[in-house]
C-alpha cells in the first residue's frame, strides 16, 4: 500500500482508493452531502470514452464526476 496522496483524477480504471481530503471547500461539502466522506473507499468504475467524466462507486452509489472536479479529491491508493 502506498501512503502518498494522489489526485483522484490520476487513477486508472479498476483502481481502489481511500478518500483523504478535499482541496476545495465547497466541493468538499457537495461530496459530503452525497456520502463521500474521508475514509470511504472509492472504486474507479470507468472513464467516459473521451476520458472525462469518470464514473466512481462510493458509499453504495455510482457517481459521475468531471476530471477537473476529481483533481480536487486527494486519495490514498489501495491494492
Amino acid at each position: 500500500m502506498s501512503t502518498a496522496s494522489k489526485k483522484l483524477s490520476q487513477l486508472k480504471k479498476g483502481d481502489k482508493c481511500i478518500v483523504d481530503s478535499y482541496k476545495d471547500e465547497s466541493m468538499q461539502q457537495k461530496m459530503l452531502d452525497m456520502g463521500c466522506l474521508p475514509g470511504e473507499i472509492i472504486t474507479i468504475d470507468r472513464f467516459a470514452p473521451l476520458g472525462c467524466p469518470i464514473a466512481i462507486s462510493v458509499a453504495g452509489t455510482m457517481l459521475c464526476i468531471r476530471k477537473d472536479e476529481a483533481e480536487n479529491i486527494l486519495v490514498k491508493q489501495v491494492d
Binding site: 452531502d33 452525497m34 467516459a48 459521475c64
Partner: protein, 707 residues
C-alpha cells in the same frame, strides 16, 4: 364522515432518485398544480389530498409541496436553495406544518444525513422508508421500530413503486405529529454567542436553524427578513471569528458520526458483492463504440417518432379543428366578432393544440429515458463532447428534438441542472432547422435549384441537407459565443448520481406527459393567442378606406367559377392594403439590401405566427395573374424584376431568403415557451434580437456576394 376545518401543509423532501415523484403522484393523484418558485425558474409542484381518518372518519385536507430533490440543506444550486429557504425560514410562505422525508432504504446513511438536518430544525417530521423490496432482496435488515426510537420520529416503511405502505403513511400524516425533541447532532456548543443571538433575535425553534442562517448570512435575500433585522444579525458576528465553510464541514462530519451510530444499532448489511445487473448493462450502454451506436439509434427512434408518427394525430387535429372553425364561422352572424373569433382566437388555439402530439411524444421518450436511468448515461457519454461548445451532456436531446420542433425541445431543457448551460441550450435550439421550415425550404429550393443529379445524389436534396447542417453548425458556434458572454457567479458542479437501471413506472410517465402538455397549453398558450390576435388585426384591417373598399367588393361577390380568378386578385390586393401589407412596404427599404421586396416583407410579418405561413402568404400574394393553372411556384418563377428585367427569384435571392429563415426567430410559440421556461421576457427578447441580427447580416452578405 364529518366536515373538517383542518388544512395541513406538507412538504415532501428527499434525495434525487428515491422515488419522490412516485410518492407525490400516489398522494395527490391528478390534483396537481405546477408553477415556479418566486424569483427563480425552479419548478414548484403542489397538490392536494383529502385523507379520511380510519377510526373517526374525519376528513383532513392536505396541501402537499414537492420540494426539488437535494442531498442536504446546504445548497449548491438554485434547485437546492429552495428546500433550504422553505424549511429554514419559518416565515416562508411555503413553510410546512409537517415534513415527509423520503429515504432510500438501500442507502440509509446518505438519506439520514438530510433527514437529520430536517429533524434538527424541529419541524414535525415523518420518515418514509422507501424501496423496502430492494432492501429485502439485497439482504439488508432494518429495524424500523429501533430507527423510530433513535430518531424520535415516526418511521413508515413503504414501496412507492408498488403503492405498499401508503395508507399507513397517510394515516400517520393526519395524526398529531410531535415536534422532534432531541437533536441528532447538537449544535448548541458551536459559537453560542452568534447562534444563540440569532436564535433569540428571530425566535427560532431550533439552534440548527440559527446555524443555517449564520452560514448563509450574506445570501438571505429570499428570506422574510427586513434589512434592519439582517443588519442586527450581522452585529452578532462582530469581534468573533466565524468561518462558515469550516463549521459546515465540521458539523457535517460530526453529523455523519452520529448517523453511523444510529445505523449500527438498527441496520444489518449483508456483505455481498456480485457484479450487479446495472454494471453488466453498462458494459454495453456506455461502451466506447456501442454506447454511441445505441444512443444514435435511440435518437433516431425519437426523432422519427416526433417527425413522422406525430404527423397522424397532428393531421387529425388540423382537419377536425378546421371543420370546427368552419362550423363556428357559419353559425355565428357575419361581422367583426365572427372574424375575430374565427381568424384571431380560434386560429390561435388551433396553432397551439397542433403542438400537443409532438410534445406528448417527446416527453414520453424523455420520461422513459429518465425513469430507467439511461439519461444519466447520456450525460456521461456526451458531456466532454458538448462541453467543448459550452453545452452540457444533456443538451443533446433538446438540440436533436429541435429538428422536429423547438417548442418541446426547449421545454425539455429542464433536465439540465446547470443554469448557464441550460440558458445556452435554450438560446441556440431555434437554430436547429425545425419541421416548420421544411415547406419554406422546399418551395424555395424547387424555385432556384435545378433538379439534377450529382453522381447518385439529387442536387435539391443536397441543398436541403446543407441547410440542416448550416443550422446545426450555427447552433454550435452560437453556443461557444454565448457561453463566453453569459457571466455567472454561481459555481456549478457536474457531480451527479448514476442510478441503477430500473423498469419505467408507466403511471409516472403518464403524469409527466400530462404535466408538460398542461404547462404548454396554459402558460405558452396565453401568449400565443395574444400574438395571434395582433397578427389577425394586422392582416385583416388596413389604414384609410382602400382596404375596406376591396373587402366589401370581396364580400359582395358570389362564389362561382367565373368569379374565382377575380376574387383571388382582390384578395391579394386586400392583403397589400392591410396593415401587414403596409408594414411590408415599410420594411422594403430595410430588406432591399437582402434582395427582398415588399411581398416578401408581408410574408416575413405574417410568418411570425409560424414559419410555414410564409407559403400560405405567398400563395395569396401571387394569386395575381391571368393564368389560373399556374402554381405559386411557377408564378414566383416567371416574375421579372421591374428594373433589370431578370427573373425576380434569382439564386442570390433564394439563398438569402432560405438562410434568413434558417436563422431568424420567426416563431411566436417558441418565444412564448422561452418566456415560460426562463420566467421573464428578458431572454426571449435577447434571443429574438440576436437571431434576427444573425439572419439579417447573413442574408445581407450572401445576397451581396451572389448577386
Amino acid at each position: 364522515m364529518q366536515e373538517s376545518k383542518k388544512k395541513i401543509k406538507v412538504a415532501l423532501i428527499g434525495n434525487p432518485n428515491v422515488g419522490k415523484s412516485s410518492l407525490f403522484n400516489l398522494l395527490t393523484g391528478l390534483h396537481q398544480k405546477i408553477a415556479n418558485f418566486p424569483g427563480v425558474t425552479v419548478e414548484k409542484k403542489t397538490g392536494s389530498a383529502t385523507i379520511f381518518n380510519s377510526t373517526t372518519g374525519e376528513a383532513n385536507h392536505l396541501e402537499i409541496l414537492d420540494l426539488p430533490g437535494t442531498y442536504s440543506l446546504y445548497p449548491t444550486s438554485p434547485d437546492e436553495r429552495i428546500p433550504f429557504e422553505v424549511l429554514c425560514d419559518p416565515k416562508n410562505e411555503d413553510h410546512p406544518n409537517v415534513v415527509v422525508i423520503l429515504a432510500d432504504g438501500t442507502n440509509l446513511k446518505r438519506s439520514l444525513f438530510l433527514a437529520s438536518q430536517v429533524i434538527d430544525l424541529k419541524i414535525p417530521t415523518v420518515l418514509a422508508l422507501n424501496m423496502m423490496d430492494l432492501v429485502q432482496s439485497q439482504g439488508i435488515k432494518i429495524k424500523p421500530d429501533e430507527l423510530e426510537r433513535r430518531l424520535g420520529i415516526r418511521v413508515c416503511p413503504i414501496i412507492a413503486r408498488k403503492g405498499v405502505g401508503i395508507e399507513e403513511l397517510k394515516q400517520a400524516l393526519i395524526n398529531d405529529i410531535p415536534v422532534p425533541i432531541t437533536d441528532v447532532y447538537d449544535t448548541t456548543l458551536i459559537k453560542p454567542s452568534i447562534l444563540g443571538g440569532i436564535r433569540k433575535e428571530l425566535q427560532l425553534k431550533s439552534n440548527y436553524a440559527a446555524l443555517q442562517i449564520a452560514n448563509h448570512i450574506n445570501t438571505l435575500e429570499q428570506f422574510n427578513l427586513s434589512t434592519e433585522q439582517i443588519k442586527k444579525l450581522k452585529q452578532f458576528f462582530e469581534g468573533v471569528e466565524y468561518d462558515g465553510n469550516k463549521i459546515q464541514s465540521f458539523e457535517s462530519l460530526e453529523r455523519y458520526k452520529a448517523i453511523q451510530q444510529i445505523i449500527d444499532s438498527c441496520v444489518n448489511v449483508a456483505d455481498q458483492k456480485k457484479v450487479s445487473f446495472s454494471t453488466r448493462i453498462d458494459r454495453l450502454l456506455v461502451h466506447r463504440v456501442w454506447g454511441y451506436v445505441i444512443f444514435l439509434c435511440i435518437l433516431f427512434i425519437i426523432f422519427q417518432s416526433i417527425f413522422s408518427i406525430a404527423e397522424f394525430p397532428m393531421n387529425f387535429i388540423d382537419e377536425t379543428f378546421t371543420g370546427f372553425i368552419d362550423l363556428v364561422s357559419n353559425l355565428l352572424p357575419k361581422g367583426v366578432l365572427n372574424d375575430l373569433i374565427v381568424n384571431g382566437v380560434l386560429a390561435g388555439i388551433g396553432g397551439i393544440i397542433i403542438f400537443v402530439p409532438q410534445i406528448a411524444m417527446l416527453f414520453m421518450f424523455i420520461a422513459i429515458l429518465e425513469d430507467t436511468g439511461y439519461m444519466a448515461r447520456v450525460s456521461f457519454l456526451m458531456d466532454k463532447l458538448m462541453r467543448n461548445f459550452g453545452l452540457n451532456g444533456r443538451s443533446v436531446i433538446p438540440l436533436m428534438s429541435g429538428v422536429a420542433c423547438a417548442v418541446p425541445a426547449i421545454m425539455s431543457t429542464r433536465t439540465i441542472s446547470s443554469w448557464k448551460e441550460r440558458m445556452v441550450t435554450i438560446l441556440v435550439t431555434p437554430l436547429m432547422s425545425c419541421s416548420a421550415r421544411l415547406p419554406v425550404y422546399t418551395l424555395l429550393i424547387s424555385l432556384i435549384i435545378p433538379s439534377t443529379y450529382v453522381g447518385v445524389f439529387n442536387l435539391q436534396g443536397m441543398v436541403l441537407m446543407s441547410l440542416y447542417l448550416i443550422g446545426f453548425i450555427a447552433a454550435l458556434v452560437a453556443s461557444v459565443v454565448i457561453s463566453g458572454l453569459i457571466k455567472t457567479k454561481q459555481k456549478s458542479y457536474f457531480i451527479m448520481e448514476i442510478p441503477v437501471y430500473r423498469m419505467p413506472r408507466w403511471s409516472n410517465i403518464g403524469y409527466s406527459i400530462l404535466e408538460k402538455v398542461k404547462i404548454f397549453l396554459i402558460d405558452a398558450g396565453k401568449i400565443i393567442i395574444a400574438i395571434s390576435i395582433v397578427l389577425w388585426f394586422l392582416s385583416s384591417r388596413g389604414p384609410g378606406d382602400k382596404y375596406e373598399k376591396v373587402n366589401q367588393q370581396i364580400e359582395q361577390m358570389t362564389d362561382n367559377a367565373e368569379n374565382t380568378e377575380k376574387k383571388l386578385l382582390l384578395e391579394s390586393q386586400r392583403l397589400e392594403y392591410s396593415y401587414a401589407g403596409q408594414l411590408g412596404h415599410l420594411l422594403e427599404p430595410v430588406i432591399k439590401p437582402l434582395g427582398f421586396d415588399w411581398k416578401i416583407g408581408i410574408a416575413l410579418v405574417t410568418s411570425f405566427a409560424a414559419r410555414e405561413v410564409f407559403v400560405g402568404t405567398m400563395t395569396t400574394i401571387y394569386s395575381v395573374g391571368n393564368d389560373e393553372n399556374l402554381t405559386v411556384k411557377e408564378k414566383m418563377r416567371i416574375e421579372k424584376d421591374v428594373v433589370t428585367g431578370q427573373p425576380r427569384y434569382t439564386v442570390a435571392v433564394g439563398w438569402s431568403l432560405m438562410l434568413f429563415y434558417a436563422f431568424a426567430m420567426q416563431c411566436m410559440s417558441t418565444l412564448a415557451v422561452v418566456k415560460r421556461e426562463t420566467g421573464s421576457w428578458k431572454w426571449p427578447i435577447i434571443q429574438f434580437v440576436y437571431l434576427s441580427a444573425l439572419a439579417y447580416f447573413t442574408s445581407l452578405i450572401v445576397y451581396q456576394l451572389l448577386k
